[in-house]
Symmetry: C2
Subunit: 214 residues, 2 copies
């Protein structure tokens, strides 16, 4: 198994957590997203993933992209410990929480989007930071409400074992802290973040602990 990733990419961070939870040890390849104009734009990488985004996972003959698709693949091929509960309604809830971050929060604050706001729309750093914090605040407020209003929330997003929603939440909180977004309004989110970070699988996956960290 081979993982192509970048220390600061939060989609990569998700997959690193998932790989750690499953107890897997892939060969690592580092794709620097800003050096040399972006190594993800190189022909060899583009052939693996036309989207030119990390992470990419190679397992035998199979090359996969999109962090959530990779995590579902890992869960189907290495079922223990599971990332999703067993019943369809619980699975839908956990996936919805994961997607609330992966679809409605993270893509808006991705590097390529921030570059567009600067280069094509002439937005200042201040305006871009306000944009970033706006979507973090909107996303985390809804996430907090979804957690607080549901009896299935436990030590983690769904019960007392970490799963797909926690895997998506933690990298997002790292991003929010890096951009100094206020987080006091999300006590349940931050409790869960704290519980996750006590686990080696989460802790060892964080950006600063990767071999390519700067």
């Amino acid at each position: 198994m081979q993982l192509y990733d970048y220390f600061r990419s939060s989609a990569s961070f998700r997959v690193r957590i998932g790989i750690n939870l499953k107890g897997l040890v892939p060969e690592r390849h580092f794709v620097h997203l800003t050096r040399k104009g972006g190594e993800q734009f190189a022909d060899a990488f583009t052939a693996m993933n036309p989207q030119q985004l990390v992470p990419v996972l190679v397992d035998g003959d199979e090359t996969m992209n999109q962090s959530l698709a990779i995590l579902e693949y890992l869960d189907e091929t290495y079922p223990s410990p599971p990332f999703l509960p067993t019943k369809p309604a619980g699975r839908a809830r956990v996936r919805a929480l994961a997607l609330a971050i992966a679809c409605d929060l993270h893509p808006l604050n991705n590097l390529r989007v921030l570059f567009y706001l600067k280069n094509e729309m002439g937005q200042s750093d201040e305006a871009r930071n306000a944009w970033y914090r706006h979507w973090v605040a909107k996303g985390l407020a809804a996430f907090e409400a979804a957690l607080a209003g549901d009896a299935r929330t436990g030590t983690f997003c769904h019960g007392d074992v970490p799963g797909l929603a926690d895997i998506c939440l933690v990298p997002q909180i790292f991003n929010a802290k890096r951009l100094e977004c206020p987080l006091d309004a999300y006590p349940k989110v931050m409790d869960i973040f704290g519980a996750c970070m006590k686990l080696t699988a989460f802790d060892a996956a964080q950006p600063s602990k990767q071999p390519d960290a700067e």
Copy 2:
């Protein structure tokens, strides 16, 4: 089963296609996203979905949001016809194609984002349309390359039966057409779009054929 949706929402469009493919007939509730300041912001709807986004599906005691989570739920509870292939690698490919649209293309062109660009960043209609077309072009070019470079692509995105990737692709093409994005560079995408639109499940789900269409 009850579906809360809005005719023009492409996440709702996805779920309508999925429901049609499964042969289900939910009770419909229409949530107008721009009238009265946005009916999704009403307390009753916010209680169902703190994200204040459509669609929402209610099945018995379960209330679900996020189109892809809903579609996976439908696939788990009504397995025929399946939205995903049987083997993990094929499932990962179909999910990755679906997520390439649901995560990396659609959220950038969502109504609330276009409003932000206008109201908070003072961007002109022209600049917002350029933004819209930029992400469509970037997303569809990668999607076309992923289809063209893989022998598993068939009449539909993965083989010769429609699935989760097609369900996400079709509403995105409707959006691209509405914003007059050029589509000639994506022949495989457009062939698949054409094949989908010959099917009643896709055709009947389109915005102009909904009871709340304007």
